[in-house]
Symmetry: D2
Subunit: 115 residues, 4 copies
C-alpha cells in the first residue's frame, strides 16, 4: 500500500468508527472542503503575497494542520465517489496543458479565456 492508500483507509476507518457516513454525503463534504480552505486563507487575510511566504514559515505547523483538514475531506470525497485522485489530477493536467499551452501562457497570470 502506498502512503496515499494507507491514509485513505485511515480516513475511512476514522469515519466509520464514529458512524459518521450518515453525515458525509457529497454536499456536506464539499461544504467542509470550502470551510477548511477558507481557514488556510484566513492566515493570510490582510497580508501581502510576500508576507504570506514568511507567515507560512512562522506558522508552519498550524498551516500544515489546515492543509491536512482540506486533504482529509478531499481524499474522502474522492474515495466515496470512486474517483482515483491521482489519476483525476493526471487527467486534469492534460486538459490544463491544452488550455494553457506553454507558448501562450508562459509568464502570464491570465485565465485561458483571456490569453
Amino acid at each position: 500500500m502506498t502512503g496515499l492508500e494507507e491514509v485513505t483507509k485511515k480516513i475511512r476507518d476514522f469515519r466509520d468508527e464514529r458512524d459518521w457516513m450518515q453525515f458525509h454525503n457529497p454536499k456536506n463534504l464539499a461544504g467542509s472542503i470550502v470551510i477548511e480552505a477558507a481557514e488556510i486563507l484566513e492566515h493570510f487575510q490582510w497580508k501581502s503575497p510576500e508576507e504570506s511566504t514568511a507567515i507560512s514559515r512562522e506558522k508552519h505547523d498550524e498551516i500544515a494542520s489546515e492543509i491536512a483538514d482540506v486533504g482529509i475531506y478531499l481524499i474522502e470525497l474522492a474515495d466515496n465517489l470512486g474517483i482515483d485522485l491521482v489519476k483525476a489530477i493526471q487527467d486534469k493536467l492534460i486538459v490544463n496543458a491544452s488550455k494553457y499551452p506553454v507558448a501562450k501562457a508562459k509568464g502570464s497570470a491570465s485565465k485561458y479565456t483571456e490569453l
Copy 2:
C-alpha cells in the same frame, strides 16, 4: 516513486514550464483552493444531501475534474511549504481522534466544542 510523488512532480513541472512560480505564493494558492472548492459545492447548490449523491453519479467526470483542481493546488501548496501531505494528514487524524473520542462522538454531527 509513488503515484502521489509522481503527480507532485508533474504539478511542479507544469508550473515551472510556464514560469508561474511568481504567482504561486501561499496566499494565491490558498485563494485558488477556496475558489475551486466552491466550484465543487456549486454542483449541489440548492440540492438536498440525498440529491447530492445522485448528482455525483450523473456528473461523475465533471466533479472528478473539480476535485482534481482542488487537489492540484493543495498538493502544490504543501510541496512549496515543505509539508508532507500524507504525514500531515496522519498527524491530524491523531489530533482529531483525541478531540472526537469514539465514545462521545459516535453518531453525532456536533463540533468537539459542543460534544
Copy 3:
C-alpha cells in the same frame, strides 16, 4: 441619510481611523468576504437543512454577527468601487428574472442552464 448610507459612512470611518485603506484593495476584500461567508456556513457544517433552521434560532446572535461581517466587507467593496449596492441588486434581479422565468423555474432547484 438612510440606514444603509449611514452604516456605509461608519464602515468607511472605522477603516480610515485605523489607516486600513492600504490593506483594503478589492482582492483582499473579496478574500475577506469568502472567509466570513465560510464562517456562517460552518455553523451548519454537518447538519441537515432542517436542523439549520433550528440552529439559526438557537444561535441567533452569533449568526447575526457573522452575517454582519460579510455585510461590512461587501458594503465596503461596493463603496470603494463606486457601486450602488441597492441598484446593482435591482439590476441583477432583472437579469435573474429573464434567466429564471416563473413558468420554467417554479418549484425547481435547477440552474438556468439546466431548466
Copy 4:
C-alpha cells in the same frame, strides 16, 4: 420605504413567485453566499493586490453583478432569520471597535489576537 427595504421586498417576491422558499433554508443560503463570494475572488485569482484595483475598473459591471449575487443571498438570509442587517452591522462595528482600538490597530494588518 428605504432602498434596502424595497430591495428586500423584491428579493422576497422573486423567491416566492418561484416557490423557492423550500430550497432557501439557512444552510443553502450560507452555501450560496460562499459560492458567489468565491466568484468575486476569482476575478483576482492570480493577480496582485494592485492589479485587483485596475481589474475592478475594467470589469466594473461584471464585478457589480457578482457583488449583487452575494448581496441578494445575504439580505435574504438576514430577512429570513429576522435580523436587521443595518443594525447587526452597527452592533458589530461596536464590537470591532473594542477589539481593534485605534491606538493599537492603526496601520496594522494583524488580527486582534496578535495585536
